[in-house]
Symmetry: D2
Subunit: 153 residues, 4 copies
C-alpha cells in the first residue's frame, strides 16, 4: 500500500498579516490555511475552486474547527503548511494542517477542519463526487501519522 500523499505550500507572512503585537493575527492564519485548501483543490484534486462551486455545484463549508496555536509567527517569517485528509465519509471531509516556520521541524500551529460537501444553491449535503473522492483519498492519512489537536466531537 502506498504512502499517503502530503500537499505542501510555503507562504510569506506579509506586512499586514500581523496585528499590533506584530504577530500573525489568528483569523488571517486561518485565511492562509483556506488559501492552501483552495490551492489543494486546484493543484492536487485538479479542480479549480471556481469550477467546483460554479460548474460542479459543490462546496465544502467548514462545520467544525479545532486549532492549536503553539508558538507565535512573526512579520517576515515564511511558513511551511502541510495539508492531509484525516477522514473522509460519505459527505464529510476532515482536513489536517500543520504550520511550521520555513525549514523547521517543530509545529507552530495545527488545525483540524471538518467540512461537508454541499450543493451551494440548496445548502444541503451531497455525497462527495467520485472524481473528488479518488483524489482526496490519495491524501488520506490516519491520525497516528501526525500531530494535531484532538477534535472535541
Amino acid at each position: 500500500m502506498s504512502e499517503p500523499a502530503v500537499f505542501r505550500k510555503r507562504l510569506p507572512v506579509r506586512f499586514a498579516d500581523v496585528d499590533a503585537a506584530r504577530v500573525l493575527y489568528f483569523p488571517r492564519q486561518l485565511h492562509l490555511l483556506h488559501t492552501v485548501m483552495e490551492d489543494f483543490f486546484r493543484e492536487a484534486v485538479g479542480i479549480p475552486y471556481a469550477e467546483m462551486i460554479d460548474s460542479d455545484r459543490i462546496g465544502f463549508p467548514t462545520v467544525r474547527l479545532a486549532v492549536d496555536f503553539r508558538s507565535p509567527i512573526r512579520f517576515g517569517d515564511e511558513v511551511d503548511v502541510t495539508l492531509r485528509v484525516r477522514e473522509m465519509g460519505k459527505s464529510r471531509v476532515v482536513f489536517a494542517y500543520d504550520v511550521s516556520l520555513a525549514g523547521r521541524a517543530d509545529i507552530a500551529a495545527s488545525a483540524l477542519q471538518t467540512t461537508v460537501a454541499i450543493d451551494p444553491r440548496a445548502w444541503k449535503s451531497v455525497p462527495i463526487p467520485d472524481r473528488y473522492r479518488a483524489r482526496l483519498g490519495a491524501f488520506l492519512a490516519p491520525a497516528a501519522n501526525e500531530e494535531a489537536p484532538r477534535d472535541g466531537g
Copy 2:
C-alpha cells in the same frame, strides 16, 4: 450569588464579509469575534485594547480555538454575539462565544477561545493582573449554562 454577566454585541454582515458562495467566510467570522473581544476589554473590563498592549504590557494571544459552525450566515444578516468567560486560571482565560441571527434563539455558531495572558515584549505568560481579574470574573459562567463545542484538550 449574582448571575454572571453576559457581554452582547449586534453586528452587520457586510458586503465583503461573505465569500463567493455569499456566506460569511469563516476566517472573517473569527475576526468578528475578535472585534467583540476588543469591545469587551474596552467596554466591560474598562481597558482599551491599545492601553492593554502598550501601557499595561498585557496581551491575550489565542492558544487554542474550537468552533462549531452550525448554520450559514449570509450577506445582509445581522448577528447577535454573546461573550462569556468560561474559565479563568492564573494566566489562562477561556472565552465562550455564541453567534445567532439577530433576534433568533438558535445558535448559528459557537466558539471556545483559550487565551493566555502574556507580556508581549517577552512573549512569556504572566499572571492576570488583579484589575483585569476582578472584571473578567463578573463574566465567569460555568459550561453548563451555555451551548458550546466541547474543547478537545
Copy 3:
C-alpha cells in the same frame, strides 16, 4: 436653500487594522470607508445594502478612486469619517470622504470615490432610481465646501 447634510461615523482602529509599522494599512482604511458607505445607504438613504443589491438590483461599483493620506493613523486611534455626495449624474455618483482623528479638525486622509449605478446581473450602467436620487441629493455638497484631493479625470 438648505445646507447639504453630512453623514458622520466614528470608528475604532482595531488590533489587526494596522500593519507591521503599526499604522492603519491603507487597503483597510479604504475598507473602513466602504463600511461607512454601506452604513450611509442603510441609515441615510434608507436602503440596506443587501436589499439594494438583491431586491432593487442596483450596485454602485467604484470606477475611480483618488486618495490623499496626509498623516498616519495608529492602533488605538478612533477616527471620524464624513461622507458627502460631491457630484451626481444620470448614473454616476461621486462620494467624498474626510477622515480625522476623533475630535480633531485637521484631515488625516481624504478620498474621492467615483461610482456608477449598475444592474449587478448584467454589469451595465442604469439610471440612479428616483428614491435613491432624492436621498442622495440631500448630501450633495459642491467641491468648494471641503478639502479633498483633486480628481485627475
Copy 4:
C-alpha cells in the same frame, strides 16, 4: 540606453477576495497590489520587506493613490499585475501598476501609488538609500510608456 525593467506577477482571485456581487472587492484589489510591491522589494530590489522595516529602518507609506477600475474582475479569474517606477525623487517614489486578466492585453485596472521613504520610528521622510535607488532606477519608466490614470496632483 537600456529598456526599463517591468516587474510582473500572476495572482489568483480567491474565494473570499470577492464581495457579495462576486466581483473583486476594491480594497482587496489594493491589498493585492501591496503584496506585489512587497514581492518587488524582496525579489527585484533584493531587500525583504521585514529587513527593510526592521533593519534598514526604511518604510514607504502611501501618501497618494489614484486608481481607475475599468472592468470587473471575478472569482476564479487570474490577474497579471505589472509594477513600474513612474517617478523617483529624493524621498518620493511613484509606483505604477496595471492589472489585466491573465493573458489578456486590455487593462482591467491601473493605479498610481505615491510613496515617501521614511524612518518608521520617527515617521519623518529620509532620502532613498543608494542601494535602493540603484535597483528602483532599473524599473523607472516615464509615463508615456504606459496607460495609467492621470494623477491629480
